[in-house]
Amino acid sequence: MRGKCGTMKEYWRWPEYRHTVPGVEWTKAEIVSGGVDVGAVSSKAALIVDGRLFAYSIARTGSSSPDSANKVMDWALEGTGMKLSDIQYVVGTGYGRVNVPFAKKTVTEISCHARGANYIWGSTVRTILDMGGQDCKAIRCDQNGKVTAFLMNDRCAAGTGRGVEVIADLMSVPIEEIGPTSLNVEKDPEPISTTCAVFAKSAAIALLRKGWSKEMVLAAYCSAMASRVAELLKRIGIERDFVITGGISKNIGIVKRLEYTIGIKALPAKNEFDPAIAGAIGAGLFAQDLYGKEHAESFH
């Protein structure tokens, strides 16, 4: 069983970490706001100082959403000298957004990802693909990061992070190496015929039985995932600039094949910003707006 057996290697496990953006001073700031994105698999917190990203953290979501929100927020604050009480407004987003104890409002993760992508990559972003732990969304937005249309698959684990975790465990390949390993083939094989995360397991075993290498099987799996996600994007229509957020944006094996399938390259990830925290950044920016609005109203 996953997570229960201490001696077994957990290939699905991805790194949890925190980061402070250098050169941002918070003590004299006008507005300090926060965004917490409690996803189905990972929780993210972002601290925003006068509209600039100051610090963030990313950790696995536990069985309780409030605990996960508290934990990830404490971790983002760690070492910054900032306390939870210094944050004037927090917005919750993601699957567990209603369970963020210290959030004043909630905003859907679709709006937050668009807003966050607009912040990270700038106003030229028009299409966002968010590949998360348990769902996948194709989002279109305007130059202000406002959502104009979206499509979502949240019914099926294929094409989501959970699906990749299952394959990592099955193939005994650490999850961060799935992408690079899958690219280590001379020529891409036919995609695995099923994208179902459960059947992909038997399909992969059948291929290994035929004598395929690990690299070939992972290539076939990543291709299948890329073509599945490409369908979602084609249905909504892709306009440049195109970016990818969410955890799977770090899987180069899927991203490269997706770019090839749709014929459009995604803007590269920016050093300071982990693409998995776009939703938390968006939530933090909405929090700043909402604080400003409430503050302005109180003057009337």
């Binding site: 348990q134 019914r155 684990a157 179902c196 075993i205």
Partner: protein
């Protein structure tokens, strides 16, 4: 099989080497009937692994095999629903067991026996206990997830919410029965309806499917053998 009479039958898990497993099974069966492979007029293979059969001379689709097999046992059969480990299918046939229409689901584990197996693991209940357990359900719970992977987490949450195992087992069977019912409706159901495949052994599932379809279901005594029976009845061209 000899002149439409079954001489011997058996089953074996596929394991890693399907071919070897099949060869061993056939050898055992021949021995039981004091026959050799040379006595066979034909050997016909069917099922998901029919292409890797050690007897490649002739094969028949699961759809045709199910129709023929069901027709032998139930001449009144017009619709056959087959729920196996990794796929499920619905077949409408005529009085001769000829296929008129069919629908297959083999792209998603949520429509096959694998779904119940995975849920039984999450519930920590033996697969064969799932049926009897679900018959004791007192309350109807509707599951939100279709995907097997997501449904596993849902079952765990239901356990945490203190729902009884019996009620959860029923919810699991209702959930897959609803999906099989929509598959079956695609071929326009005509009675009599025969339910075959290994999952037909699960009475809890049979009950849920009967309510979902609103028709009576006939289940042969050994529903998992209908495909093999149909293959044995197939005359190669």
């Amino acid at each position: 099989m000899k002149d439409n009479q079954t001489l011997s039958k058996g089953q074996i898990p596929c394991g890693f080497d399907q071919k070897a497993a099949t060869e061993k099974l056939v050898e055992d069966l021949l021995q039981q009937s004091n026959l050799s492979l040379a006595d066979m007029a034909y050997v016909v293979s069917t099922g998901a692994g029919k292409n890797s059969s050690p007897y490649p001379a002739s094969e028949v689709s699961m759809v045709s095999a199910d129709a023929l097999g069901a027709n032998l046992l139930f001449p009144s059969a017009r619709t056959i629903i087959d729920v196996g480990a990794e796929n499920s299918l619905a077949v409408r046939c005529n009085e001769k067991g000829r296929v008129i229409d069919f629908a297959v689901s083999d792209k998603c584990a949520a429509g096959s026996g694998t779904f119940i197996e995975a849920m039984a693991r999450a519930l920590e209940v033996k697969l064969e206990e799932m049926g009897p357990l679900s018959m004791k359900a007192k309350r109807t719970i509707v599951m939100d997830s279709q995907c097997t992977i997501f449904a596993e987490s849902e079952v765990v949450s239901l356990i945490h919410e203190k729902a009884s195992k019996a009620d959860i087992a029923r919810a699991i069977h209702d959930s897959i029965a609803n999906r099989i019912a929509s598959l079956a409706r695609r071929v326009r159901i005509q009675e009599d309806v025969i339910l075959v495949g290994g999952v037909a052994l699960n009475l809890g599932f049979v009950n849920s499917l009967r309510s979902a379809l609103g028709v009576e279901l006939l289940v042969p005594r050994e529903p998992e053998f209908i495909g093999a029976l149909g293959a044995a009845l197939t005359r190669p061209k």
